[in-house]
């Protein structure tokens, strides 16, 4: 199991060091600094073995978090734990920075004592932790409160406490998708997938039982068959989507999903991520990028890029940005664009073209002349792909929320009394077109 956990600043100074196992000594702290943080070459693996001691590290801005062990631990678990550790710290004091860590080092030690025992991760849900680890210290708990805390920390529903009350029962659902594309210069889709998240903000009283429904092809087809109506099956078939795979927050009953494909759960209070999913079929690609790069002699490049929006004309895409890479030996660039603003950014080796808004079914164009310094560098320019960023108000996967039902039998509010909000946001993930 995890033998120790260290946090360093960018200079390699230790900010936090907590050792859980006897086989990890102080020299491990230095070994990591010398071999990884101060290493001359760029680190080539997140797992490093130095003298039979393994170091797992992640970096958040310029802070290094390293877990150390001498045993054959579950590597995936160690990384998941490090991410979790970051989440917990962020939830307690915001951004992970040297200053914040120094200001909260007592709290961090307290957290580390609680969520890692002898190197075994324990309950690390911030909701539960916040009930008994506070910066103010615990004052005057009654016996009931204490046992409530412990039963929540160890209980089946470790993510929610009893006795939550809201005057207004309300919930917000955000379907956030990032659409990824790799396209060949000829316009052939090399790979495309959507990775989506359903984020829920729940402000519900009591211990509500929720059921979430979406236009999952498998569910719709099953229902279509149940109604024995072929027409319904066909018409809904258009609207339903094939989900390649999905993963759920630990509140969702996985065995029920496995057997009935229904998503039922008791949600944590406040904001959390209900599910993640991935689709690859029938993706709506909001934009198409058509590049044209021509080398004119050895000292000039002509670039023309057309973008076409491909969705309902009534919808508006926002924050559009096209990034056209330029060679390292660029000496000057002239740009002309029909819409938005375009600039050559020498420090980033790219022409950045920004458009604030663009409606569906439109097209726009940029052309640029790039002058190059002659070099005798034998190596050819690698021609990185043209990448694009945008935000659209629909889900490129086609996912639709069908319902989210809330049942709370003990309190007197029903599904109808809950105010529900649903929002769809599609963003670009890695949206690249080779040129």
């Amino acid at each position: 199991m995890i033998g120790g956990l260290f946090i360093y600043n960018h200079k390699g100074e230790v900010l936090i060091s907590r050792v859980y196992r006897d086989d990890i000594g102080r020299n491990a702290v230095d070994a990591f600094r010398v071999n990884v943080i101060h290493a001359r070459q760029q680190v080539r693996s997140p797992v490093t073995n130095i003298a039979r001691t393994s170091f797992f590290h992640v970096k958040r801005s310029n802070i290094w978090l390293a877990a150390v062990t001498k045993q054959n631990v579950n590597a995936a678990m160690v990384f998941e734990f490090l991410y979790k550790m970051c989440d917990v710290m962020t939830a307690y004091f915001g951004k992970i920075s040297e200053e914040n860590i120094k200001n909260n080092f007592v709290l961090i030690y307290e957290l580390l004592d609680e969520i890692l025992d002898f190197g075994y991760p324990q309950n690390s849900e911030t909701g539960a932790l916040k009930t008994f680890i506070t910066q103010q210290g615990i004052k005057g708990q009654t016996k009931e409160e204490q046992s409530q805390i412990t039963s929540q920390v160890t209980g089946q529903i470790g993510w929610r406490r009893e006795g939550i009350k809201y005057r207004r029962n309300e919930l917000f659902l955000d379907v956030l998708e990032s659409v990824n594309l790799l396209m060949s210069p000829q316009g052939q889709v090399l790979s495309a997938h959507v990775s989506g998240r359903v984020v829920m903000k729940s402000y519900l009283s009591g211990m509500p039982e929720c059921k979430f429904g979406m236009n999952d092809k498998i569910v719709i087809d099953k229902q279509g068959k149940g109604a024995a109506s072929d027409d319904a099956g066909k018409s809904s078939g258009k609207q339903s989507i094939a989900i390649d795979d999905c993963t759920f927050h630990q509140c969702v009953r996985l065995s029920k999903f496995d057997s009935e494909r229904s998503i039922s759960f008791i949600p944590p209070d406040g904001e959390y991520e209900l599910m993640r999913y991935r689709t690859t079929k029938d993706i709506i690609l909001p934009f198409r990028v058509i590049p044209l790069v021509r080398e004119v002699g050895r000292t000039k490049l002509e670039v023309k890029v057309v973008i076409k929006s491909n969705f309902k004309p009534s919808l508006l895409a926002q924050k559009i940005e096209v990034r056209i890479p330029t060679p390292l030996n660029t000496s000057g660039v002239q740009v002309i664009c029909m819409k938005g603003k375009a600039k050559y950014k020498a420090s980033e080796n790219a022409i950045v073209w920004k458009i604030k808004r663009m409606a569906g079914m439109k097209e726009s164009q940029i052309s640029a002349e790039i002058e190059l310094l002659p070099t005798n560098d034998k190596k050819k320019w690698a021609r990185p792909p043209i990448s694009m960023n945008f935000e659209v108000p629909f889900a490129p996967s086609g996912l639709k929320v069908r319902y989210l039902k809330v049942f709370e039998s003990k309190l007197n509010y029903s599904d109808h009394d809950v105010i529900k909000w649903v929002r769809y946001i599609g963003r670009s993930g890695i949206y690249e077109t080779r040129c």
Partner: protein, 924 residues
């Protein structure tokens, strides 16, 4: 900033200040002072001097302050054991506190303090806490048992904590169950043979129930534990799989990977024609692909594991090639792993896409990645025959870019393509030759030289090209030198007239001016071959080469099986068994897939022991030289020996080599025990006496933190002894020596402890004789007389392996009665016999017989037929196996002068426990 100040303090003056603050009456001031102490501790400064003052702050109802003091205690208690006792009372009191959080905190902290006196006081509170009414306390106590076991295993057993821990598996609270499982698994790892985690269908059922309810971490502990269970039949295996599959949709990647591990393992037990088997295969792909959208570090872990899964079950991901395409901003470690998997998944169906991608990658910036991409193109060509032509043309395009490292890498892979598809793509040689000058890496140079040599007849100026390399011969790396030597010999055999001078030049460079034994040996072999029999030389050097196989870097199957059992763990990231990177015994047992038929000869532990045992079998000439221990033996020649005799020597070597293999095949059927005739050959070579192997360095000081061990084996008055010289080449004194053997072919084991009584000071040597018994546990080793030894001292445990002369095992009572000998000899079927020759033996039959008797090889009878002396001999191995031999000595010359060449043929006969050797001992 207050805290910046905290982090920058502490020199001796400040210690006093802190002391005063710690003893202050004001609570707030106290707390600030303890915070400062902890801050200094973090930075690595020594604040142990404040121990009593900090401990004084422990008695407080402020939980935050208490936690800080506990943190301090965990760090310094070990250095101040006597003072740590002061804390015991508070701990014991806290364990009775009405607040469960404080009870748990106390028991958790006490377990972290590794001081014997505190541990004694821990037992009672721990016993109470294990039965506490509050689940939070119980789950903490469960882990505490593991802590205590790490400090004092005996105590845990004596106090019966293990049973209580086992009871917790049936606890009503899922988190208590999970922690109990984690603690038991860890304890069980250090007791490989104990039945601690007694997994039976009932407990498995309990675990599976808890699996649905506990935290993500608890699910990992339980799944990892489940993976160690072997279901009784396929039905049980299927029902477990059904209950584990829902975990594949968990948001935590570690839960997913651990579930994959369980499924991959239990799948082995399912019949392949079962519908469920196919369903399960289909269910595995999506979660594995999803892992690739996790954070990069997890992607890396996932990819390393997918690499294993793809090798074991390629069908799972065969349609998912696209997800492994490299993204421009993937970290380099993810890119390299993806590339590996792409090659593994490449097939005729997707090769066009793969090639297009690889070509794209070959223009990237990162040198390592580009090289790997180029290499991948070559591997595709070898793997998918239909694509070979496209691959070659892609490679040629890449060579045209003239990017130095791309060209070099391309040439290396083209060499492999030539090997795979001979006489197909040789038209590109001209293009390759154009780039000769730009090659500066040994591997690329060697590849190019190989190509020139192999196709010398098609390259007009092959001799000029090779000659140009020859100029800087001594500056080249060994790889290039060897290749150049071979290439020029090939060239000479193809175009003998023009290249005589060149070949002489290279032979003399290799044999006379080089220090490298490999190079010299190869030089001599070629020299002798060429001077004796050019026709034979042609057959040997220009022999048809076997085609190379498709997959070059597959993980060896037994290792792969073991790694599959370790999915998700570090072992699967390193692609090494845990024994290769974990110290001590913990977690080093080898895991196997259930129902697998592959029997492995202990590959894992061999890897754990030293990599290369010092080679003991000296070359043929030497062996026979000391076979009969004759002083007249001419020393092994240093210059090139006369061609005629060297030719003979080569032949004999082949005969022996070939004989060996057939013998092994024959013996596998006959000898049920661990003995194969492989042992007998070295035995005969060592026939002469107990002194054959001279003292060898078994464990070089470099590998063993300064301890050097050299030694030899002898048999004295029926007792086998291992005589060792231990030398301390380190700076510090070494004490507490102990020795242990791994199981071996003849059950050798130390008959007593290693007698090194005085501490070994630096630069001192000590001789120790260790008597050996032959009643230890038996396991077949490779080679048969290999012995793996572990030596321990106060510094560490070291492993090495050595080989003992078989003659050491010949027992004193190995003289068979004449009648029995005759009967046995006749009974043995002829096809069980084998023969070989011994040369360069300058003894007459009587002298030989005497010599052999010294090694417990007894002459039963002697007869003379047509001037040939026939000696019938018997010997008995310590494990009761008899070896019978016939030794034929031919005296060609009536004067009994000892001639230079002796041919000895041996016939091995063996039957149920008896092996017969006939040795023809011939004299000219």
């Amino acid at each position: 900033m207050m805290c910046d100040f905290l982090f920058s303090l502490v020199c001796t003056g400040e210690i006093f200040e802190l002391k005063a603050e710690l003893n202050s009456d004001k609570k707030e001031k106290k707390k600030e002072a303890v915070k400062k102490v902890i801050a200094s501790m973090t930075v690595g400064k020594d604040v142990s001097a404040l121990f009593p003052d900090v401990v004084n702050c422990m008695q407080t109802d402020n939980l935050e302050l208490k936690k800080l003091v506990y943190l301090y205690l965990m760090n310094y208690a070990k250095s101040q054991p006597d003072m740590a006792i002061m804390a015991v009372n508070t701990f014991v009191k806290d364990c009775e506190d009405p607040n469960p959080l404080i009870r748990a905190l106390a028991v958790r902290t006490m377990g972290c303090i590794r001081v014997d006196k505190i541990t004694e006081y821990l037992c009672e509170p721990l016993r109470k806490c294990l039965k506490d009414e509050d689940p939070y306390v119980r789950k903490t106590a469960a882990v505490c048992v593991a802590k205590l076991h790490d400090i004092n295993a005996q105590l845990v057993e004596d106090q019966g904590f293990l049973d209580t821990l086992k009871d917790l598996i049936s606890d009503s609270n899922p988190m208590v169950v999970a922690n109990a499982v984690a603690a038991l698994s860890e304890i069980a790892e250090s007791h490989p043979n104990s039945n601690l985690l007694d997994l039976n269908p009932q407990t498995i059922n309990k675990l599976l129930t808890a699996l649905n309810e506990c935290t993500e971490w608890g699910q990992i502990f339980i799944l990892d534990c489940l993976a160690n269970y072997t279901p009784r039949d396929d039905r049980e295996s299927q029902s477990i799989c059904e209950r584990v599959t829902p975990r594949l949709s968990h948001a935590n990647s570690a839960v997913v990977l651990s579930a994959v591990k369980v499924l991959m393992k239990f799948m082995e037990m399912l019949p392949k024609d079962l519908d469920y088997y196919g369903t399960l295969l289909k269910k595995l792909a999506p979660p594995l692909v999803t892992l690739l959208s996790a954070e990069p570090e997890l992607q890396y872990v996932a990819l390393r594991n997918i690499n294993l899964i793809v090798q074991r079950r390629p069908e799972i991901l065969k349609h998912e090639m696209k997800v492994f395409f490299v993204k421009y901003n993937d970290p380099i470690y993810v890119k390299l792993e993806k590339l590996d998997i792409m090659i593994r998944l490449a097939s005729q169906a997707n090769i066009a896409q793969v090639l297009a991608e690889l070509k794209e990658y070959a223009t990237e910036v990162d040198v390592d990645f580009v090289r790997k991409a180029v290499r991948a193109i070559g591997r595709c060509a070898i793997k998918v025959e239909q694509s070979a032509e496209r691959c070659v043309s892609t490679l040629l395009d890449l060579i045209q870019t003239k990017v130095n490292y791309v060209v070099q890498e391309a040439i290396v892979v083209i060499k492999d393509i030539f090997r795979k598809y001979p006489n197909k793509y040789e038209s590109v040689i001209a293009t390759l030759c154009e780039n000769l000058d730009s090659l500066d890496e040994p591997e690329a140079r060697a590849a190019m030289i190989w190509i020139v040599g192999e196709y010398a007849e098609r390259i007009d100026n092959a001799d000029e090209l090779l000659e140009s390399f020859l100029e800087g011969f001594h500056d080249e790396s060994t790889q290039v030198q060897l290749q150049l030597l071979t290439a020029i010999v090939k060239l000479f055999l193809k175009k003998p007239t023009e290249t005589q001078e060149l070949v002489q030049q290279v032979l003399s460079l290799a044999t006379q001016d080089s220090d490298n034994p490999d190079l010299r040996d190869r030089g001599y072999i070629y020299w002798r071959l060429l001077s004796t029999d050019p026709v034979a030389a042609k057959e040997v050097v220009l022999a048809e080469k076997p085609l190379i196989s498709e997959e070059t870097d597959l993980i060896e199957p037994t290792l792969l099986e073991e790694l599959i059992c370790h999915i998700g763990t570090l072992a699967s990231v390193y692609h090494k068994p845990p024994s290769a990177f974990v110290e001590g015994s913990r977690g080093v047992q080898h895991k196997r897939l259930p129902g697998s038929s592959v029997e492995s000869p202990d590959t894992g532990s061999a890897a754990g022991v030293s990599e290369a045992p010092p080679a003991v079998i000296p070359s043929q000439g030497d062996l026979l030289g000391d076979l009969l221990n004759l002083d007249l033996t001419p020393p092994t020649t240093t210059g090139p020996p006369p061609p005629a005799s060297s030719g003979m020597q080569m032949g004999a070597m082949d005969l022996l080599g070939g004989g060996l293999d057939s013998l092994v095949g024959l013996l596998n059927t006959v000898l049920s025990e661990a003995v194969s005739l492989r042992c007998v050959i070295p035995a005969l070579q060592n026939l002469s006496s107990h002194y054959t192997t001279c003292c060898q360095v078994w464990l070089p000081a470099m590998k063993a933190k300064g301890l050097e061990i050299s030694g030899t084996f002898v048999r004295r008055a029926g007792v086998i002894q291992m005589e060792m010289t231990l030398t301390n080449k380190a700076m510090s004194v070494m004490t507490d020596f102990a020795i242990q053997f791994n199981r071996n072919s003849f059950g050798l084991a130390p008959a007593g402890p290693l007698q090194v009584l005085t501490p070994l000071s630096p630069n001192q040597s000590i001789e120790a004789a260790l008597p050996l018994s032959t009643v230890g546990p038996v396991m077949k080793m490779e080679p048969l007389n290999n012995l793996q030894v572990a030596v321990k001292n106060n510094i560490d445990v070291f492993y090495f392996s050595c080989q003992y002369p078989i003659s050491m095992l010949f027992a004193e009572d190995g003289k068979m009665e004449r009648q029995v000998f005759l009967a046995t000899w006749k009974d043995i079927p002829n096809d069980n016999e084998s023969q070989f020759q011994i040369k360069d033996c300058h003894l007459n039959s009587d002298a030989a017989s005497n010599k052999l008797q010294g090694s417990n090889i007894f002459t039963i009878a002697k007869r003379t037929v047509e001037g040939q002396d026939m000696l019938y001999q018997s010997m008995k191995l310590t494990n009761g196996i008899w070896v019978l031999a016939e030794l034929r000595v031919q005296a060609g010359n009536p004067n009994y002068t000892v001639s230079t060449v002796l041919v000895v043929l041996a016939v091995f006969k063996s039957c149920a426990g008896a092996a017969v050797i006939t040795i023809y001992y011939q004299k000219k």
